[in-house]
């Protein structure tokens, strides 16, 4: 069982380019999340989805979009990347999205926007 798979592992991107970070889970979890991790700031929620077909905004959603066409996949898109989006991005999931649930994280995508 892989859990959560993120791709790519790392990417260098020119500013202004479009980029989609992929996330797939095989645990049949209803809720999925995207976090960014920056030194000194911890993990901040970008977007989340409680179930297929629904999405919501987190703490830092500007410049990012997500979709949830099915239970397993939750891609994160940067429509026009900017240097401030240089970060490590983690996809996570939980069983149902109810408060106080355990989060399962992928191994992350290191993104550098130049």
């Amino acid at each position: 069982i892989a859990g959560i798979t993120q791709a790519p592992t790392s990417q260098i991107l020119a500013a202004g380019r479009r980029m989609t970070l992929r996330c797939t889970q095989d645990m049949r979890h209803n809720a999925m999340y995207w976090y960014r991790q920056d030194l000194g700031l911890g993990l901040r929620l970008i977007h989340y989805s409680n179930t297929a077909g629904t999405t919501g905004k987190g703490e830092v959603p500007d410049g990012y979009s997500v979709s949830r066409a099915n239970t397993d996949d939750f891609p994160l898109t940067l429509a026009s990347a900017v240097p401030s989006q240089t970060s490590v991005y983690f996809c996570a999931s939980s069983e149902s999205g109810t408060p106080n649930e355990k989060l399962f994280f992928g191994s992350g995508t290191q993104l550098s926007v130049l």
Binding site: F90, P99, L103
Partner: protein
């Protein structure tokens, strides 16, 4: 403005020593306080969690101490081992605030052999 403040940013402990990481929060409505452990190149993984109706929770060498009146909670790692070297994040969430976890800024722990 961070909802959960964590300190120290980094910590060096000798093998066998006690590692202590502290977190403070403002929102008294928070009712779940997990700690996540992250090894280099990996995503965070749940280590231990506590609810505010108890003052302490212990799992093996890991203990959470919770002080509701001071709005603080801490992670204690007893008999610290080199394998405990990782980054630790505290977090808080509240019932009714679907999906929202507020993470601290992280503490990088280095346990020297």
């Amino acid at each position: 403005q961070q909802q959960v403040k964590q300190s120290p940013q980094s910590l060096i402990v000798q093998k066998g020593g006690i590692s202590i990481i502290n977190c403070a929060y403002e929102n008294t409505a928070f009712d779940y306080f997990p700690w996540y452990q992250q090894f280099p190149g990996k995503g965070p993984a749940l280590l231990i969690a506590i609810r505010p109706d108890v003052s302490e929770k212990k799992e093996g060498r890991f203990t959470i101490s919770f002080n509701k009146s001071a709005k603080q909670f801490s992670l204690h790692i007893m008999d610290s081992q080199p394998g405990d070297s990782a980054t630790y994040f505290c977090a808080a969430s509240l019932s009714g605030n679907f999906n929202k976890f507020y993470f601290g800024s992280g503490t990088k722990l280095n346990v020297k052999p």
